[in-house]
Symmetry: C2
Subunit: 447 residues, 2 copies
C-alpha cells in the first residue's frame, strides 16, 4: 500500500475489518462499503478467505484483481480445490485476476505498482513476465543496475485465471514495450504461446529463461507454481521455430536486451576483435569461436590503414593486438576501431581496449586539465562511434579489459547514451552476438 500511495493520480481505499485507518487513510470493513468506483482490487488476505473477498468485489462491480496469497494449487490437492473454487467465483462475478500466489505487478508508465517490495524500477521499453516473483525481482534489479528500463512487470503466480499467454498478447500491441522478456517454468497454453510468439518476434524480440529442464528442478517447479515443465527438447525446438531467443540466466538476459534495444543486428557472424593485449585476444577469439562466431581475416586495406596507427610489432591480424601502445589518451584506439567498422569482411566488433578509464585512476598520472581533455576526446569519439554503428549497421560491444574500466559513472553514462553495451568479459559479449546472429538469420528466413 505504501508503494501505491507514491502517486497522486489515484485513490486508494484500504479495506480491513479491524482497522479504522491504515497508513493514516480511512479504512473500510468491506469492499462493498467503499464510496467510489473501484478499478482494481489488490487482495492480500490468506488463501481460504480469497473467494469470499472476490465475491464482495464482484458485488461492488470490480472487474480486475491481483491475488497475492499463496496456498493454492502449488500446495497439492486441497489447494487445487480451493483454486478451482476461486476461478469459479471470479468467473461468476466477471472478474479477471492475476495470481494467486503472485507478488503483484507494475506499470512504470502509469506509476502503478502492486508489488510489496521497492518500486524503484526505471521506466523503459522492456516488459517482463515472470512465473517467479523473486526471480522477477532479481531480473528487474539486475536490469535496472545495468541501465535497463522496464515498461511492465507481472509476477504471474499460479495463473489460475490470466495466463502468461494473455499478458503476451497484450504486450504484443503495447507501444511502451519494445522487447518482451519472460521467466517460464511451464506454459498453460503452449500452442497459443507459440502462435503468438511467431507473430510477435518479427516485430519485437522475445527472450525467455525456461527453467525446470532437469529432474529435481521440474519437481521444484511443480511445488512452486504448480507448473508442468514439460520436455525441455520440445520447448527448445518450439522456441527456435517461433523466433524466441532462449537464454540461461538473468545476466545473459540483461546483456542481450541491451544489445537488442540499442544495437543493429549483424549481417553475419564474422567478428573483429580489438584488444589492449595479446592474451585478451586469445581468450576473446576462443570464446567467440566456441559460440559459433567467425574470427574473420581482415581486408588488406584494413591492415594497411592500421600500419599507420600501430607500432610495427602489431599482430597484423584478427584479433588486433594493439601491442601495448594503447592508453586512455591514445587516439589510435579509435582510428583502429573505425578501420574495423569499415572493413567489409566484418559484421561486428568487440572492443576490449582501455576506453572509459576511471578519472580517479588517471589522476595519479595526469593533471586535471589533461584528464578533462581525455574525457572530452573520449566523449566525442563515443558520439562518433554511436553514429558509425548506425551508419554501417554493425554492432560494437565494449568488453571491459579489467574491473576498473567503465566504472566511473560519468563514463558509464556516456556509453549508455550512445547505446554501446558494456560487458564484463568476452564470453558474455560473444554469447550475446551469437543470439543476434541467430535472430537476424531467423528474421531473414521468415521475411
Amino acid at each position: 500500500m505504501r508503494h501505491l500511495l507514491t502517486s497522486d493520480r489515484r485513490k486508494i481505499y484500504p479495506v480491513n475489518p479491524k482497522a479504522a485507518e491504515v497508513l493514516g487513510i480511512q479504512a473500510y470493513d468491506s469492499v462493498v462499503n467503499i464510496p467510489g468506483l473501484v478499478d482494481l482490487a489488490v487482495i492480500a488476505v490468506s488463501a481460504p478467505q480469497v473467494p469470499a473477498v472476490i465475491r464482495q468485489c464482484a458485488q461492488k462491480g470490480v472487474r480486475a484483481a491481483v491475488v497475492v496469497a499463496g496456498g493454492f494449487a502449488e500446495t497439492g490437492e486441497g489447494g487445487s480445490e480451493l483454486e478451482a473454487n476461486l476461478v469459479k467465483v471470479a468467473r461468476e462475478g466477471g472478474i479477471r485476476f492475476i495470481g494467486p500466489n503472485s507478488m503483484g505487478h507494475a506499470d512504470t508508465f502509469s506509476q502503478l505498482s502492486t508489488l510489496a517490495w521497492m518500486g524503484e524500477i526505471t521506466p523503459g521499453p522492456v516488459a517482463l513476465l515472470s512465473q517467479s516473483g523473486n526471480l522477477g525481482h532479481r531480473i528487474l534489479h539486475n536490469g535496472v543496475s545495468s541501465g535497463l528500463g522496464f515498461s511492465k512487470f507481472v509476477s504471474t503466480g499460479n495463473e489460475a485465471d490470466l495466463h502468461l499467454e494473455d499478458y503476451l498478447e497484450y504486450l504484443a500491441q503495447d507501444e511502451n514495450t519494445k522487447v518482451i522478456t519472460a521467466y517460464i517454468e511451464g506454459l498453460r497454453e503452449g500452442r497459443r504461446f507459440f502462435h503468438l510468439a511467431k507473430e510477435i518476434t518479427p516485430r519485437k524480440p522475445i527472450i525467455v529463461i525456461k527453467a525446470g529442464g532437469t529432474k529435481e528442478s521440474a519437481k521444484a517447479a511443480m511445488s512452486h507454481t504448480a507448473a508442468l515443465t514439460g520436455s525441455d527438447a520440445v520447448y527448445a525446438a518450439a522456441f527456435r521455430q517461433a523466433g524466441v531467443i532462449r537464454v540461461d540466466d538473468d545476466d545473459e538476459l540483461c546483456d542481450l536486451v541491451a544489445a537488442l534495444l540499442y544495437q543493429p543486428l549483424p549481417k553475419g557472424n564474422r567478428i573483429g576483435i580489438l584488444t589492449i593485449g595479446g592474451g585478451m585476444g586469445v581468450v576473446a577469439a576462443e570464446a567467440s569461436e566456441r559460440e559459433g562466431l567467425e574470427i574473420a581475416q581482415l581486408a588488406p586495406s584494413t591492415i594497411e590503414k592500421m600500419d599507420a596507427y600501430l607500432p610495427p610489432r602489431w599482430s597484423r591480424g584478427n584479433p588486433v593486438d594493439m601491442a601495448g601502445i594503447s592508453m586512455a589518451e591514445n587516439p589510435a584506439t579509435f582510428s583502429v576501431l573505425w578501420a574495423l567498422i569499415e572493413d567489409e569482411n566484418l559484421d561486428a566488433v568487440l572492443l576490449q581496449a582501455p576506453v572509459g578509464f576511471d578519472a580517479k585512476r588517471l589522476s595519479s598520472i595526469f593533471n586535471t586539465s589533461e584528464i578533462k581533455a581525455f574525457r572530452q576526446a573520449e566523449e566525442s569519439n563515443l558520439v562518433l562511434l554511436g553514429q558509425r554503428v548506425r551508419e554501417y549497421g554493425k554492432p560494437v560491444f565494449m568488453v571491459k579489459p579489467a574491473v576498473e574500466f567503465v566504472n566511473d559513472p560519468e563514463v558509464s553514462s556516456l556509453f549508455r547514451r550512445e547505446g554501446i553495451p558494456v560487458y564484463p568479459g568476452p564470453q558474455r559479449a560473444a554469447r550475446v552476438l551469437k543470439h543476434l546472429v541467430w535472430y537476424r538469420r531467423y528474421l531473414n528466413a521468415v521475411a
Copy 2:
C-alpha cells in the same frame, strides 16, 4: 620505477644514458657504473638493445633480470633470432631472466613489484602465473575486488629462459602460497609441468585457464607469446590426471579460489538448497543438476525440524522454499540452515536467502536500533555458520538472491571474515561445487 620506490627496503638505481636523474634520483649511464651491488635488473629498453644491456649486467655481476621489451619471437623469424641471441648472451653471463615480452612480476610479501601498472595488490595466499600480462592484470584486479589476496605474480612473457614450469616448482615450496593459479596458452615443458603438478596438487590446489583451444585463438596465441597451444583434448586429459582444476574464465577462477581457501571439500555431490522463493529453487536445482550435482532427498528428521520453523505451506522438500516468510530479521533462516548442515543426506548447502541485507534499504522500514539488532543477530549467526561449516566439513555458499544483497561493505566483510564465499548467482556456485567434488574425489583416489 615509481612502484619500486614505494618501499624503503631497497635501493633503486635508474640507468639512462641521457638523464642525470630520474624521479629525482641520480641516474647512471650504464649498469657497470652503479656503485653498489645489484640483485635484479629491470630491463625496459627496446628489443634490439636488450642483449647489450644483459652483457653489461653480467659484467656488473647481476644474476637476475626482468625483460619487459616485446618484439622477440612473438613477431616472427627476425624476432626469434634476436631471442635466441638474448638467451645465449644471458647464459654466457650467468643471468636468469623473466620474459622477454613480460609485464613484470610482483611479490607482495617483500613488497617488490616490477609491474608498470598499479601495485595495489592485496597480499594473500594466491599465486598467479600468467602467459598474458593483461589477463594477469585482469585476474589480479577481479580477485582483489572479490576479496582475494595474492602472494606472487609473474607475467611470464615469451619464457625464453625461465619457464612457467620453473615458477611452478618454486611455488610448490613457497610457504606464502596456498593456491596456485595460472593462465596458460602453451607449455614449453608439458611433461615437466604434469610431473610437477601431480606432486603439488595433493598439497596445494592448482587452477588453470588454458586458452587457445580453437583455431583462430591458437593463431592469436602464436603471435602473442610464440606459444604452441597444442591439442586441447591432450591438455584436458593431462590436467585431469594431474589433479589440476581447469576453469573457463577469471570469474570462475576467483570463485573457485575463494572456496578452496576457506571452505572444506564436500564428501560427495549431494547438495541442499535453501531459497527465499520457489523460482530461485527451480533455477538453482537446474543449475546444480546440469553440473552433475545431486539434489538429495532430505532426511525425515530434517523435515520434522523444519516444520517447526516454517509455515505449513513450505515445500517440504529440497530445494527448501521458505515460502516467502523469510526476511532479514527472521531467525528461521538460520534455524533451517543449521538443520540442512546437520542432515546426513547432504554434503554441501547453497544458501539463497535474504541474509546480508543492506542497512540503507532496511532503513525505510525499520529504525536504527532495530537495524542494529538485526545486524548483531546476523553477525553472531554468521560466526556460528563459520563454526558449523568447519565442524561438519560441509561447504556452505551464499548465493545472492538479487544485486542488493551482501553489497553493504559491513556485511561483505562479515562474510569474508567467516570464509563464506558469496556468489552472484546459482550457476556460479554450482560450477564451484562441481570442481570441489571432483577435486575431493581426485585426492581420495591418489591418497
